[in-house]
Amino acid sequence: MKVPVRSLFALRKASTAVSAAEAIPLTAVLSSEFFDHIRHQIYGDSKKVEKVVVKVLAEDSEKPVLVNRNVSTPFHCFNHISKQFADDAVLVEVIPSVGGAYFSSVNEPIQDQSDIRKIGFDSIENLNLVNEAYWRSCSLVTAGFLKEALDVDVDFEFPRGSIQDGYFSVAVKGLDGNVFTPDELNTINRFGKTYIRESKPFEVISLPKTIAEESGINGDYLIRIGQQVFPTDGPVISSTQQIGRFTILRSKLAGRSGKKVIVGGVSIPSKQMTSSYSWSLIAKNANQKFSKNN
């Protein structure tokens, strides 16, 4: 699957004789090694293990779990209840022993003794947070597989979007204003489906401001999906396994003279199943809305 997209775009690149002239400062920095380096910087040496007790709050019970500080994540804690419980978790509410409660990603290491509560797609409370996290994750996944698929160096921006828009989008820099043709979109969609099916976890590091400023990263979190690393401003879902139907609709130029290409798509979680007819309506609506909006 990987080869056709690369070759497709490489062919077009050669035929149109464009060169990636745009400056792409962050791409070189945000590598998988850089992610490991930052993780080491924030959480310290993983060989020195310190234990903490984390209480997992379920609906009508609570279970204390002994975990490794700065190594174990809420996902590991939820696995002590059951695998299904862990797989269903989209976000987690962390209530630390000191300080106020906050929401975090499921794969973010636990830093101190705390109580944690699972938030899933079927939760009644905080559903807007789950929706935001899902939409953000879809943009990141799109960026992840575009970066792997394309044969040119590209950088990404993540425009703020909401479910109410009907679509999510990613701005791609480095394509020199070349939008994807329908054939290319088909190939990309096929590649994307294979990528999502691999159930890649979203590894998350919460960035302290000092480190973010030192490294020139604009975001509160650093996310790694497979080998691709991106900064983002909020929590994300646990794994690509939670993504159900997914499609990249089309691409268009940002603004009139811009060289940025905006790629739009739509997706629904795997937990929220629907018929092909409903999905076709959703995709058609998203395509129309994406085309209308500038």
Binding site: G166, I268, N285
Partner: protein, 193 residues
């Protein structure tokens, strides 16, 4: 009163009766024409005692009408009826269950119409059948949950939650609204022509 006359006086039971008799394996029971009834009697007894049982699907399907009819006899004809007493005695060999049937289950369904039971199908499970020469033999089974209404257990099917803020509902509502608007527009254009 004969069985035919007694049953004819009762209303139809509110569950589907399979047109094909389900095959019931009667291993462990002395082979006879009544072995099949013996299997059903055990299921009925267990269901009345436990009020919710997990069975092989075909057994659950077959046993359900018998439980329905037994409860219906209690509701329609009461404990003093000769035929009802005979049936209760045969289907519920444990005497405390006859008391339970008349004092607990029948009053529960006095003002209620059939069906008195519900049957749910669970996903097939792979279960160990037997071990032969240290070799485990596994088989896929269709599982059914047979329960009497008003049992004290939590519901098998969770109540449908209000999920109007879910991603699917938000996207679908918007898509349907726009789809209807498009259709209305097309209709107006065709009318004006």
């Amino acid at each position: 009163m004969s069985a035919r006359r007694a049953v004819a006086s009762l209303p139809r039971i509110g569950v589907t009766i399979g047109h094909l008799p389900q095959k019931l394996k009667t291993g462990g029971i002395e082979p006879s024409r009544r072995a099949r009834l013996e299997v059903l009697r055990r299921i009925v007894t267990r269901t009345v005692r436990e009020e919710r049982v997990e069975l092989k699907w075909n057994r659950a399907v077959e046993a359900r009408p018998y439980i329905e009819r037994l409860i219906q006899l209690g509701v329609e004809r009461g404990p003093l009826d000769e035929y009802t007493a005979e049936m209760m005695e045969w289907w519920l060999p444990e005497k405390d269950l006859i008391t339970k049937m008349h004092d607990v289950l029948v009053p529960r369904f006095q003002n209620r119409e059939s069906p008195f039971t519900s049957l749910f199908r669970l996903p097939p499970q792979r279960l160990q059948q037997f071990i032969q020469n240290k070799r485990e033999i596994w088989k896929r089974y269709d599982i059914g949950v047979l329960e009497i209404y008003g049992n004290p257990f939590p519901a098998v099917q969770a109540a449908r939650l209000e999920q109007s803020d879910s991603i699917l509902d938000i996207l679908l509502t918007d898509a349907l609204r726009n789809h209807h608007e498009d259709l209305q527009e097309k209709l107006n254009v065709s009318k004006s022509k």
